[in-house]
């Protein structure tokens, strides 16, 4: 075997050397897997920078010249269909729903973790069980109510639904983050005569802050990604980005570079936020059961 730049120097006993070589091989395997999983995303971004003719070729034109055509098309410079209303709808629905989720979940988690109510785990499981019911089973009554109250095609209906969709997970996450506040510290504060505000700001908040950020992030991601409700309950005015994305293909035939540009732009906020909070993302996604 030739010595690759990654291979360590030949020192130590034969056994150590063998173990090092396996280590290098496993490292390389991991790199290959990482690149393999990333490849479709890389392809999406590369295609988004190609002209429509270069995008739809066989074999693929990897080295074709770069062009902003797809992005210009997406942002409506040439086609006249602006993506801004759906992007703004998505942003509004996701941010407002996230704020509501936090307002409802933090006190509930406080009641379940810091000052546990009796049968707190039953309450916790009630929250989780609502998440296990398929959303689609409640869609029709929501649709009928919306139709009769004139809330169809309104972003505020989505806000309500996204809040209810993310609330159970948020309560679980916040509870697990708040459960990390040491009981001894709470007791000590109580003995020292600390009031509620003081305990909350000096003891609970510092521990809870990263948890609140993670909860907000996950609630934002799930709301931003949601398609079914948005598709059924919104139309021309309140359509969100995922609805806009599906519409790109069905109504105008296929423009691959444009679709890739759109997919890249719409995924970007979630990807950036996800990279920034990798660790908290895990803990959040596993409902705080994994630390």
């Amino acid at each position: 075997m030739n010595r690759s730049p990654l291979a360590p120097r030949r020192t130590g006993s034969p056994a150590t050397r063998r173990r090092r070589r396996t280590g290098t091989l496993l490292g390389l395997t991991a790199w290959l897997c990482g690149i393999g999983f990333f490849l479709p995303v890389a392809w999406m971004v590369l295609t988004s920078f190609h002209s429509e003719t270069d995008a739809a070729t066989n074999p693929p034109s990897v080295g074709a010249g770069l062009s902003l055509h797809g992005y210009r098309e997406f942002f409506g410079a040439d086609s006249g269909v602006s993506p801004w209303p759906p992007l703004i709808n998505s942003l509004t629905a996701s941010v407002v729903a996230t704020v509501l989720v936090l307002l409802l979940a933090i006190p509930a988690a406080y009641a379940l973790a810091i000052k546990p109510v009796r049968k707190w785990s039953d309450v916790l499981f009630f929250f989780l069980s609502t998440k296990m019911l398929p959303l689609v089973a409640g869609l029709l009554p929501v649709y009928l109510v919306a139709q009769n109250t004139g809330m169809l095609d309104s972003i505020w209906l989505l806000v309500l639904l996204y809040t209810s969709m993310n609330l159970p997970i948020a309560v679980w996450m916040m509870r697990s983050f708040l459960a990390e506040v040491p009981v001894e510290m709470l007791e000590a504060a109580s003995i020292d005569g600390a009031g509620l505000t003081c305990t909350l700001t000096r003891i609970v908040a510092p521990v809870a802050m990263p948890g609140i950020a993670a909860t907000a992030l996950i609630s934002f991601i799930f709301s931003w990604n949601e398609l079914l409700f948005a598709r059924v309950l919104t139309g021309i005015v309140a359509g969100t980005s995922p609805v806009f994305l599906t519409g790109l293909v069905t109504s105008q035939g296929l423009f691959l570079a444009k679709v890739c540009a759109a997919a890249t732009v719409i995924s970007l906020p979630v990807i950036v936020a996800g990279f920034a909070a990798q660790d908290k993302l895990v803990q959040g996604l596993s409902l705080g059961a994994v630390k």
């Binding site: 070729t57 006190p107 398929p134 409640g138 895990v282």
Partner: protein
Amino acid sequence: MPIRTAEPAPGAEASAVRRGGGPAARARRTERAKNWARRAPLLPALVFLVIVTQLPFVATVVISFTRWNALAPENRGFAAFDNYRAVFTDPAMRASVGTTVLLTVTVVLVSLLLGLVLALLLDRGFRGRGIVRTLLITPFLVVPVASALLWKHALYNASYGLLNGSLTWIWRLFGSDDPPQPDWMTDSPLAAVEVSLIWQWTPFMMLILLAGLQSRATDAIEAARMDGASAFDIFRYLTLPHLRRYLELAALLGTVYVVQNFDAVFTITSGGLGTANLPYTIYQTFYQAHDYGRASAQGVVVVLCSLLVATFALRTVSSLLREEVTR
């Protein structure tokens, strides 16, 4: 709200005295007040969830017993079990139950296995581990509709997709002008949906299992290695038992999400060619056939099936919680 005060709040005591009653009654009253104070922060979330998620479901149950098609509004009435009978005798419905089970089991098992391999690879130290981890989690962060569109048009497409494009390229390397060009989405539609979902969910499994691996106690492993245990023995007798609950958790959470998948089925095949799962079938009955009664009956059946999975899921999670109950 008092923070764990040993004495009842002075105000509460005073009012109890004013209202009279023996010390036992007074204690009971303050106890009740304290309980309410503890429960109060919980109520907004509970009330909100009951209204927004439970009430619609009750309405779904009611509608499932009515004959109601929006295209024929005058013919509306009590249908007893007609809708349910229709659901259970409908071959399309039965097919979609089978599709849902197959899709969910395949996606969850394969991505769990791949996720385990990747987590084990990433658990070791090597150069650029952080970068590889970031590369690996990216598929999970792409918006689901975007990833479905990406697979359908940029990768699977028979005439210019990356898969067939690569085949052409490889065959040309060997001087052949006749590469195989399968039409992935028509030849194996369900597999096409599954592969895109596996790609999307493997990172999720990997993240949870990696967190599990990194929470292992290292001293037991060191000791086992000292005693000459092989890498496989360590995996089999130390790592795997430790990972068990993480594997269960990842599988169950994955199941909850994949069972409900709508985006990939809707985008990649539009439910055609035997890929319609339950959420898609309900969407179709309701949104395209406008048969409200039947769609509701389907919804109720789906919920009953989900309760089965949910029971297992809740049991597993409760075993995770049990160690915390001492609090």
